[in-house]
């Protein structure tokens, strides 16, 4: 099927399979190596449950997340994108997350203007010691994106 066709007919042909209870969104999660990735690790080693919705991409810093990555993920049909980095003031590289904060604010407004639901993209700060918070954040983000239903752009890989 061509992209164009997928585009005009968004993924779920049966609306009841849209934002259903069982459907789990596919969320691309960019986690910074020093805080949020370690936070996710801690959530794992502490055996805290959270929804299996995120596909993690480890990056050195939230400031390393090129807005193009987020746009590309959405354009290619991800249901949502989550970016998590160190709390302001805690950046391993001192100021990466401060630059990121501006960039994400502008990006979120941009996506809103272009008609992407603002809830599809979520930014948070999670530190290495916040395993429980990480699980909570993933649950909240997943729920926010779940109610929106699958991406209007449809998945390309069908996975």
């Amino acid at each position: 099927m061509s992209e164009q066709a997928e585009f005009i007919n968004p993924a779920p042909s049966d609306p009841s399979t849209g934002a259903s209870e069982e459907w789990t969104p596919r969320i691309i999660a960019f986690l910074c190596n020093w805080c949020s990735y370690a936070g996710a690790d801690l959530a794992g080693t502490s055996r805290i449950q959270y929804p299996p919705s995120i596909r993690v991409i480890r990056v050195p810093c939230s400031g390393r997340v090129n807005p193009q990555y987020i746009i590309k993920a959405l354009a290619d049909g991800a249901d949502g994108v989550m970016v998590s980095g160190c709390h302001p003031g805690d950046c391993h590289y001192l100021e990466g997350n401060y630059y990121a904060r501006r960039r994400f604010a502008v990006l979120k407004r941009l996506l809103s203007l272009a008609g992407f639901h603002p809830d599809r993209v979520q930014f948070t700060w999670v530190s290495a010691s916040e395993g429980a918070k990480f699980a909570e954040v993933v649950s909240t983000v997943t729920e926010k994106i779940r109610v929106l239903g699958p991406s209007e752009l449809g998945g390309r890989d069908g996975a």
Binding site: S2, E3, Q4, F7, P67, Q68, I71, K72, L74, A75, D76, G77, P88, G89, E95, Y98, Y99, R101, R102, R103, F104, A105, V106, L107, K108, R109, L110, L111, S112, L113, A114, G115, F116, H117, P118, D119, Q122, F123, T124, W125, V137, T140, V141, E152, L153, R156
Partner: protein, 295 residues
């Protein structure tokens, strides 16, 4: 607006600057019957200066050409060109000592019988700064003409519309796009030696002529123009498919101004807004934060 007087004075000034060897070249526009509208022209001798034109179809933004000039240059600049020059100076792309601005008053250009894109929102008929002034009547004083200022307030529109309406508008525009990149070539801010669209190093960066690629191109370009777009309208003027995406760039400019108090093309000394941060920047985009961002 007295185009004849302005043109005459422009030719005189240009001829004089070239004759005195104050500058090596005068960058302006000349008639181009092939194109059908005036196109960029570099006058290098006093005789060449005769060919410079100034009329209501002179809407091309010349700022970008200035970055490619070697030797001292004078540029014929209307207010939007000067805003772009200011932006380029603040980004270290131009050396102020290397050029002279022939500021020329402008009350808005016309393209295809309509006000040219961008001109409806232009704040002033007078350039932000200049070395030599050519007023609306051809004299060396400004007339400060009233401007139409009928451009839409994108933020207000966005707040009133639904997310579906915004998506439809965006899709309607990009569906016409043929990915020719003329908008990028015309834009003063798009001076990158290697644009992200030309880098095809990794599989995920491959460009097809599909909707996903168009979204990726236009949104990423918009992101790169955030706080740098000077609202000159060049991107819309050059688009052969009639794609009008300037509202997206303008919407971002409004956001940047409202949130960080920064406007592109005003202060050549200012550090570009995305190149700096404040420790107490608002947490506007963040989960649980104060979400003024998602409209």
């Amino acid at each position: 607006m007295d185009y004849e007087m302005q043109s005459r004075r422009l030719a005189e000034i240009a001829a004089k600057l070239l004759e005195d060897e104050t500058v090596e070249a005068v960058l302006g526009l000349r008639n181009n019957p092939e194109a059908g509208w005036p196109t960029p022209y570099c006058a290098r001798t006093p005789q060449d200066a005769e060919r410079l034109v100034w009329n209501e179809a002179c809407y091309t933004n010349l700022a970008f050409y200035l970055t490619e000039m070697r030797g001292k240059t004078a540029i014929v600049a209307k207010p939007c060109d000067v805003r772009s020059i200011i932006n380029l100076i603040s980004e270290n792309q131009l050396d102020r000592d290397n050029f002279i601005i022939i500021g020329i008053e402008c009350e808005g250009k016309r393209k295809d019988g309509k006000p040219a894109p961008g001109c409806d929102a232009c704040p002033s008929s007078i350039p932000g700064f200049w070395d030599i002034a050519i007023g609306a009547d051809g004299s060396d004083t400004w007339c400060d003409l009233p401007m139409a200022q009928t451009g839409e307030n994108v933020t207000q529109w966005a707040k009133k519309s639904t997310v579906e309406e915004r998506f439809d508008r965006f899709l309607k525009e990009i569906n016409q796009c043929i990915l020719c990149y003329a908008c990028r070539q015309a834009c003063q801010g798009c001076y990158c030696v290697s644009c992200f669209m030309d880098r095809k190093a990794t599989p995920w960066e491959q460009i097809d002529a599909d909707t996903g690629s168009k979204i990726a191109f236009h949104l990423t370009r918009a992101m790169h123009l955030a706080g740098r777009c000077t609202d000159c309208g060049a991107c819309e003027k050059v688009c052969s498919s009639g794609v009008n995406l300037k509202y997206i760039y303008k919407g971002l400019s409004e956001f940047v101004e409202e949130t960080y108090g920064f406007k592109a093309g005003v202060n050549p000394e200012a550090t570009p807004v995305m190149n700096r941060y404040e420790a107490d920047d608002p947490q506007v985009a963040f989960l649980g934060g104060d979400c003024i961002v998602g409209i």
